[in-house]
């Protein structure tokens, strides 16, 4: 079996391979969509966590069930589901993160059978009552998983799972740190493959894989070449290498991201002191920087903007970024409302931005290439 980046690439190209093998060995596979379901609970219950993704394949079956004027990423996930591509998934955890995902919950459940289906209500606000509500929601999910799995998720088991997932996130951050070098030691394309591999294997296997990748990447001589620009890519669901690869082939190093299949998944840990359910709520609701969560303004408009987007400025500084691409999937309303603010905020911080709005399928890739090349010329 290949190791390191080669193994990540293999898992990226055959995402369901490992989950299917484990299922053949008697394990149950628990699917989840979006960043918000606490995977620690899935691990603690003894299931294999499996992140549901879409595909750049044309959507051919979902049109009979879902409207075309909604998130094409969710439509693509559903398209795979209705074509039985997710039949190996025993159960599904469906969070209320945005209108598109929320309103697809009943529709998926109605047409795509799984043995288990659970809706996790994630508040949009971050008040003390919101955290209290979300802690209870996580507790209800825990009970539900226990019932489905016939297991007791003890505090000890949950703390072990939290430790394993914290390690996973720490390893991903360590790997990301290797992108600070110039040229970066790992490309954005390779990082996307790693992310997809990590989200389709059990956490202990993923950690072992990450350790081997870090070892390989730290000492590699065949890493990415230095390009004219070091870019940050901001957006939501990029679960395929095509777009990042396009950017890198156009003459840039993608050195940091703020994506659902990127840093948004691993940048912050779950606290290990105190009530683990509360700690999960604090991390998932409080620390994931997704525009679907409303953060109260701490005071002035500038303080509000810093509170919402300051981490992007910090990313840009830490990774020595000289440009940003804001890649927005059409009909993703929460991102669409934020993107003018993100653009202006970064530009005021001296980081030029290119805004691209796409339908997830990348069918307009030729036009994007021209625009990216022009952008790189301007900032180069």
């Amino acid at each position: 079996m290949p190791k390191g980046l080669a193994r990540a690439k293999e898992l990226y190209e055959n995402r369901d391979q490992r989950a299917k093998e484990l299922r053949g060995d008697g394990k149950k596979v628990m699917g989840y969509i979006c960043c918000y379901p606490p995977t620690e609970l899935i691990t603690a219950a003894g299931f294999v966590p499996y992140r549901i993704t879409g595909s750049l394949e044309p959507i051919t079956a979902a049109d009979a069930y879902l409207e075309t004027l909604m998130c094409p990423y969710v439509r693509s996930c559903f398209d795979l589901g209705i074509k039985k591509e997710y039949d190996f998934v025993d159960g599904m955890i469906w969070p209320h993160t945005c209108d598109n995902i929320q309103k697809t919950y009943d529709i998926w459940r109605h047409y795509i059978p799984h043995s288990y289906f659970h809706y996790l209500d994630v508040p949009h606000m971050t008040d003390p009552s919101s955290f209290e509500f979300f802690t209870k929601e996580i507790d209800i999910l825990k009970e539900s998983l226990e019932e489905f799995g016939g297991v007791k998720i003890t505090e000890e088991r949950l703390k072990e799972a939290i430790a394993a997932h914290n390690e996973n996130r720490a390893l991903l951050r360590q790997l990301t740190g290797l992108r600070k070098q110039d040229p970066p030691l790992i490309s954005g394309t390779e990082m996307t493959q790693v992310m997809m591999a990590v989200m389709s294997t059990p956490v202990d296997e993923a950690n072992e894989l990450l350790r081997s990748i870090i070892e390989e990447v730290s000492t590699r001589k065949d890493g990415p070449q230095r390009k004219a620009a070091r870019l940050l890519v901001y957006g939501c669901e990029i679960d395929d290498i095509a777009f990042i690869n396009l950017v890198e082939e156009s003459g840039a190093n993608v050195v940091i991201d703020d994506l659902c299949f990127g840093t948004r998944h691993y940048w912050d840990d779950v606290a290990t002191d105190g009530d683990p359910l509360k700690n999960l709520a604090d991390r998932y609701l409080g620390k994931i920087m997704c525009p679907r969560t409303f953060r109260r303004s701490p005071g002035t408009r500038q303080e509000d903007l810093d509170n919402r987007f300051g981490y992007l400025r910090d990313f840009a500084k830490s990774f020595n970024v000289n440009g940003a691409i804001l890649y927005i999937i059409r009909y993703c309303d929460t991102f669409e409302f934020d993107v003018p603010e993100v653009r202006d905020y970064l530009q005021q911080a001296g980081i030029p931005c290119l805004l691209l709005e796409d339908d997830y399928s990348l069918t307009s890739i030729g036009g994007f290439k021209t625009r990216i090349e022009a952008f790189l010329e301007v900032i180069g």
Binding site: A64, Y65, L66, E67, L69, M70, C71, H96, C98, D99, N100, Q102, K103, T104, Y105, D106, I107, H110, Y119, D121, P123, H124, M125, D127, S129, S130, E132, F133, K136, I140, P291, R292, F294, R296, S297, R301, D304, I328, R330, Y331, D333, T334, E336, F337, D338, V339, P340, E341, R343, L355, E357
Partner: protein, 440 residues
């Protein structure tokens, strides 16, 4: 055409005297906020108007204002301003109108001269929410680009079907709703520098309960009657006081008048068209505010929309006097959708519901209101009311012989609307209903 009303109106003809009064009430709402000394608040529709009445604040609803701009066909320059700033042309057109309005205001320092009713007054606060869609809190957050007014949003998640059957889960949701409303009251108190008068709020909420009961009774009475005395284009005016003025004396008086008028028309069998060949339900999505005369077009072909599910009343709920918290009363009095009550009263099983829009499904109303067709409106810029329509259509067609038509447009952006396509599809749909009648 924009920047001023066209020579020929595309708004609907109204039939009831009540519907004709609504325009004046709306004009007063905006004018009062502009001329009176009282503070104004920009509010996202979240069924909390009673709080503003109690705090003596004049609420202004940018959502309603956007619909007004669309009806007047002056929405386009507002939307273009928002789009020029980077807001995508698929974001909610209500929001683009509101953002463009504030953007243009910021550009010149003055309210645009083509803004209907003199425009929306500068607010001392903004209140968004997560009720029904993401736009409701994201839009108001985005206003801060142009407006310097404190913004508060509160959470009101909709539990999925069946979840509230577990008592502890129901309390978990109710507890959160209450905490969020209390947070809003605290924000209002801080911003206004005065305390909520809870006794006054209680009185206002009880008045609102009476208003809601009259609203429900008049809408259900009208939809049940044959001939239909109040068509949907009137209902789409007559819901306005209940949504945007609830708790006020004016709203209560309006629904008392509406009920009396509907009752009088029912008693005297006053209908809209000479022969109701086809009774229809407007079963999802928002109406095309820019082209409301489409309802009159249908009437000219012998069909009439008797009920709409876009802006439904809540079924009256007896809230016991032991509930002394007016915030809890506000929540409970709006806890039973009209369709659920009708199904309960008919003693039959509830229809198969589709998704989060299931509780407001047209399936509840087809038999009780003797409808022969359902029309839905899929809106390019509204995920909240559009996602799930295909699913609803499939469920309806599985369980009922009534045909369903989905039309595509947008509630405010006339650039996404094709008048010809709508008319052609509606013509074909009416022919389908006719053919099915003959077959059966």
């Amino acid at each position: 055409m924009y920047r001023g009303e066209g020579k020929y109106k595309t708004s609907a003809r109204h039939w009831t005297e009540s519907a004709k009064k609504v325009r004046g009430l709306v004009r007063d709402m905006y004018t009062r906020a502009l001329v009176e000394e009282k503070p104004a608040a920009w509010v996202m529709l979240s069924m909390i108007n009673e709080l503003f009445v109690a705090m003596d604040v004049l609420p202004v609803y940018p959502e309603n204002y956007a619909g007004l701009c669309a009806t007047k066909r002056v929405a386009e320059p507002f939307m273009e301003r928002a789009e020029a700033d980077g807001f995508s042309n698929v974001t909610c057109s209500y929001a683009r109108i509101g953002l463009g309005y504030t953007g243009l205001w910021q550009d010149t320092g003055e309210i645009p001269d083509f803004a209907p009713d003199g425009g929306m007054a500068k607010p001392v606060m903004m209140v968004g929410s997560s009720m029904a869609c993401d736009t409701r809190y994201k839009w108001f957050q985005a206003f801060s680009r142009y407006l310097d007014a404190p913004c508060y949003s509160f959470d009101m998640p909709i539990p999925p079907a069946g979840r509230m059957r577990r008592p502890d889960v129901m309390l978990h949701y109710l507890g959160y709703f209450l905490a969020q409303l209390r947070g809003l009251v605290a924000f209002m108190e801080k911003t206004l520098g005065k305390k909520m008068d809870w006794d006054k709020l209680d009185e206002i909420v009880r008045r609102s309960q009476k208003t809601n009961a009259l609203w429900y009774d008049s809408f259900i009475l009208a939809a049940s009657a044959e001939p239909c005395p109040m068509p949907v284009e009137d209902a789409l005016n007559n819901f306005v006081p209940a949504f945007f003025m609830s708790g006020s004396v004016e709203a209560l008086e309006f629904y008392q008048g509406l009920y009396d008028e509907v009752k009088q028309r029912v008693d005297n069998k006053v209908g809209i068209i000479p022969e109701e060949k086809h009774r229809l339900i407007w079963g999802g999505g928002l109406p095309p505010w820019h082209t409301m005369d489409i309802f009159n077009y249908v009437e000219n072909r012998g069909a009439i929309f008797v009920y709409q599910t876009s802006y439904q009343p809540f079924a009256p709920v007896e809230v016991p006097d032991s509930i002394t918290d007016p915030l809890m009363r506000m929540l409970l009095m709006r806890s039973v959708p009209a369709g659920v009550r009708i199904a309960q009263e008919r003693g039959g099983s509830r229809p198969k519901l589709g998704g989060f829009s299931g509780l407001t499904s047209p399936a509840f109303f087809i038999e009780p209101f003797r409808a022969q067709g359902v029309v839905m409106s899929m809106l390019r810029s509204c995920r909240g009311t559009s996602i799930g329509q295909i699913h609803q259509k499939r469920l309806l067609e599985e369980s009922s012989p009534v045909p369903v038509l989905i039309l595509e447009s947008d509630m405010c952006d006339v650039r996404d609307h094709s008048e010809t396509e709508w008319k052609m599809k509606l013509d074909a749909f009416l022919e389908t209903i006719e053919a099915r009648k003959k077959d059966s």
